[in-house]
């Protein structure tokens, strides 16, 4: 890696993605740009080849009649040709509109119509069929370009065209109009729309977030500079192309830093591809890190005793020293030696089987990650960091700087990003703030203030060290009668990170203190009971055991101690709790199908328990209707114990 080739681009000169593509083709034309596994073999597209392919596709699109400003959709799995199609569209001043490949026809139709898409790139027959099904209702679509011809031989629709045919036409057009492509690329400017990404709003229709080249490329450049990414880096692009994260990593940062993007062979082979590619830069949502850890733990339990003993011995060593070594703190030489031995025998081989040995930067985001999971990866030497971002910010709002990584904050503002907390809500301002919601000025006005600040809808605060802490959705945050901030999800998440707590529901908005329903995890608690020779006949009996209450009380007290450490939240400690006699269940309407608590339903159904929590009584009887797995209904009666908890002290030792 030479300094000159790895110098970051000057965005005043290379102010659009196609110009950056040309730059990369000039300075690193033979370096890998994209990889794809074909017939079992990884095939590489160099920057030079990618630029040539984008040029051919662009000229091909011209022959179909693409004009500047036209929207073109891309639907499919991560494929090099689709990434090049994005660049081709941008070269002609068109606007790519990637669509989630697993969207149902209704969602796809909404986006195609809302963005008035003229052309669609569809990966294969499956996606072509989806578009054909709704084409009559999408009057603006004039052409569909497919990549994989399989199964499409007998489709006679005149508006269908293969990428092969498109590039052939493009080559001819380019030969006849040699100056055309370069002229079009030169016309692009920083404030042109570079992409429209649709966000899957939880309510109502998705909104098209319009991002300019300035948004995407400045954010990309800043993050590349902060993390020291360069042309030698590798990523595996396995998350949907329509998601802003993939767009930023695989299109924005890849162009700026000149690194290589590998596309998995298929959705099912991702873990194997990860191992073969060995990325140096890796993003995954918390759920994936959790799944990997669970698999590792299960396999370790099944392995021989020598391996198991070694694993747990060095895991303890890692717990004590690992994070501090990764954070560059001073650690004694004997501890370092001990850790190095663990790395040699356990940590490196483990990361190797996972395909994560080469990762120097791992990001996670999207939701809260359990501190145990987070610490596990960091302690074995995997540089996992959290970031906080959203489509409207071109991803980056905050990033955890190296050496300042915590499991309970999302880090400091990214370069050039300003943060403020307005009425509990996190707001930001910076180069990544989106232009507008496409053709939706009302929603734009709701989200963007006049002076450039953008609302996130998340409640949070900035802690003593300048790190942002996200606590809940702003609309769910309430206040106790004395005005103390109450963020139910934040407290519930803390409780749920304990393996023996399955679910927790906290109350407090408009009350004088915080109380909680706790749901024990039958598997973890049952395992504990078995190991301690405690017999029980049912979930209800186990949940009501005094010793189980003792354990849960210990957990609640731990959470209270954590809360006491935050000045803003110290007043919202849990004062009374009870352990529910039945598991909250989607069949009883208490959880959604994605296992989120339906707060309103729970408070209606268990209203008498909530009143008991706030009444000072120490027991409460309840009768609930339950739905059995075969659909029959029955009732469960229980007499629940309620426990009081003393609040933790505001100060705590620096543990």
């Amino acid at each position: 890696m030479t300094g000159a080739a790895n110098a970051l681009p000057d965005l005043s000169r290379y102010d659009t993605s196609p110009k950056l593509l040309r730059r990369n083709a000039e300075i690193r034309g033979d370096r890998p740009c994209l990889r794809e596994k074909h017939l079992g073999i990884w095939e590489t597209v160099t920057w030079g080849e990618a630029a040539a392919q984008a040029r051919e596709i662009a000229c091909g699109l011209k022959t179909l009649g693409l004009e500047r400003g036209d929207r073109v959709s891309i639907i499919g799995d991560n494929r090099p040709v689709l990434y090049n199609a994005i660049l081709a569209i941008q070269s002609l001043g068109g606007v790519p509109v990637p669509i989630y490949q697993d969207s149902v026809a209704d969602e796809t139709r909404y986006v195609l119509n809302n963005a008035e898409v003229r052309f669609v790139f569809a990966e294969d027959q499956e996606q072509v069929d989806k578009v054909l099904e709704i084409k009559d209702e999408c009057p603006t679509i004039e052409g569909v370009i497919y990549h994989d011809p399989r199964g499409l031989r007998n489709y006679s629709e005149a508006f269908l065209c293969s990428t092969g045919e498109l590039t052939r036409r493009g080559r001819d057009y380019d030969a006849e109009h040699p100056g055309f492509y370069d002229g079009e690329v030169a016309r692009g400017a920083a404030d042109d729309t570079s992409v429209i990404l649709y966000t899957s709003g939880t309510t109502g229709n998705p909104k098209g977030v319009v991002l300019s080249y300035r948004n995407v490329l400045v954010s990309a450049l800043n993050s590349v500079r902060q993390e020291g990414l360069g042309e030698g880096d590798e990523v595996l692009a396995y998350l949907p192309m329509a998601w802003v994260g993939d767009h930023m990593f695989s299109c924005g940062q890849a162009l700026v830093a000149g690194f290589c993007v590998s596309c998995p062979e298929s959705a099912e082979t991702v873990l194997n591809d990860l191992w073969e590619v060995g990325p140096t830069y890796f993003f995954a949502p918390p759920r994936i890190f959790e799944n990997i850890l669970t698999t590792v733990m299960i396999r370790i339990q099944d392995s021989g005793w020598v391996k198991r003993k070694l694993f747990f011995h060095f895991l303890e060593v890692a717990k004590v020293h690992g994070k501090r070594i990764l954070d560059g703190e001073t650690v004694g030489s004997s501890a370092r030696l001990h850790y190095a031995l663990g790395a040699l025998l356990i940590f490196r081989p483990l990361l190797n089987t996972l395909g994560l040995t080469r990762v120097k930067l791992g990001y996670t985001a999207g939701e809260a990650i359990g501190p145990d999971i987070f610490d596990f990866y960091r302690s074995i030497g995997f540089n996992l960091k959290q970031l906080y971002g959203m489509t409207e910010a071109s991803v980056f709002i905050t990033i955890q700087p190296n050496g300042e990584v915590r499991s309970d904050t999302v880090g400091r503002p990214a370069a050039e990003v300003e943060l403020r907390i307005e009425d509990n809500e996190v707001q930001f301002r910076g180069p990544g703030v989106f232009v507008e919601y496409f053709r939706n000025p009302e929603a734009t006005a709701e989200t963007k203030t006049g002076d450039g600040w953008c609302r996130t809808g998340d409640a949070g605060f900035i802690d003593g060290e300048g790190h942002l802490k996200i606590i809940d959705r702003a609309k769910d945050v309430g206040r106790l009668t004395d005005g103390t901030l109450f963020a139910p999800k934040y407290i519930e998440n803390k409780l749920k990170f304990f393996p023996d707590i399955f679910e927790a529901v906290c109350f407090g908005d408009g009350r004088d203190c915080v109380t909680a329903f706790i749901n024990i995890d039958l598997e973890a608690m049952g395992d504990w009971a078995e190991r301690n020779g405690i017999s029980y006949a049912s979930y209800q009996e186990l949940a009501g055991l005094p010793r189980v209450y003792d354990i849960i009380q210990g957990r609640v007290e731990q959470v209270n101690r954590d809360l006491a450490a935050d000045a803003d939240l110290a007043g919202a400690q849990i004062r009374r709790f009870l352990v529910l006699h039945k598991q909250l269940d989607a069949d009883d309407g208490e959880l959604t199908r994605t296992r989120k608590v339906r707060r309103r339903h729970v408070s209606e159904k268990y209203g008498s328990l909530i009143e008991a929590l706030y009444s000072g009584r120490d027991r409460c009887g309840i009768e609930t209707e339950v739905t059995f797995e075969d659909g029959r209904k029955g009732t469960v009666r229980a007499d629940l114990q309620i426990r009081d908890i003393a609040p933790a002290e505001a100060e705590r030792s620096a543990a």
Partner: protein, 265 residues
Amino acid sequence: MSAAEEATAQAPILRLDGISLAFGGVTVLDDVSFDIREGEIRAIIGPNGAGKSSMLNVINGFYHPDDGTITYKGETRTRMRPDQAARQGIARTFQNIALFRGMSTLDNIMTGRNTMMRRNFLWQALYVGPARREELEHRAHVERVIEFLEIEAIRRVPVGRLPYGLQKRVELGRALAAEPDLLLLDEPMAGMNSEEKEDMCRFVLDVNDEFGTTIALIEHDMGVVMDISDRVVVLDYGRLIADGSPDEVRGNEEVIAAYLGVVRD
């Protein structure tokens, strides 16, 4: 009718004339005659014990008929060995999966190329020079089959660990690896759930469509048979009782009787 069939409607790839087969005193096939045209999907149906699998065994040379002739690609014969059939472009799958359970998907499909390997066992073991080049060519073809059947994720998995539906697909893959002109499928959808069946139907139709492979299949699921086949022959107690398009066969009274179990004379 597929376009491929109309184009070559007059050219049977295989013709069976007066085939009879008996094991001891049991007559399995009794004077059966029909043909399979190039490029068509031909279904063989019938109640249990009608002689369907025996018919396939006769076609690929595993059984030798007591009487009658087989004309394959214009060449008439009474006896053919299974390996000769394989070399001449007939490949098949089995009613009960017959894969090497300890070998990976990739290796199992690779065995489908065995009849085409020109270098002998010793060369292959040494894996040098021409043997290496040859192996790479075969491997590339096998990879095309893997891609076609969308089984990339199980390339390295021993087939014994795969669920039933996928094993069936691997078996189809092995047959396809031989680049057959005539593909015999013995109950390719037996024991599958409806989603697996749909997948398999799509693959059968795709094989026929993309490679122009002629397919003869035995199947019990009437919905599948009526949907995907161009012509159907019906056997009952070793006799041919109907032969024609799915619609013709569906309305045939003798077929209905055979399936509904009407008392016979």
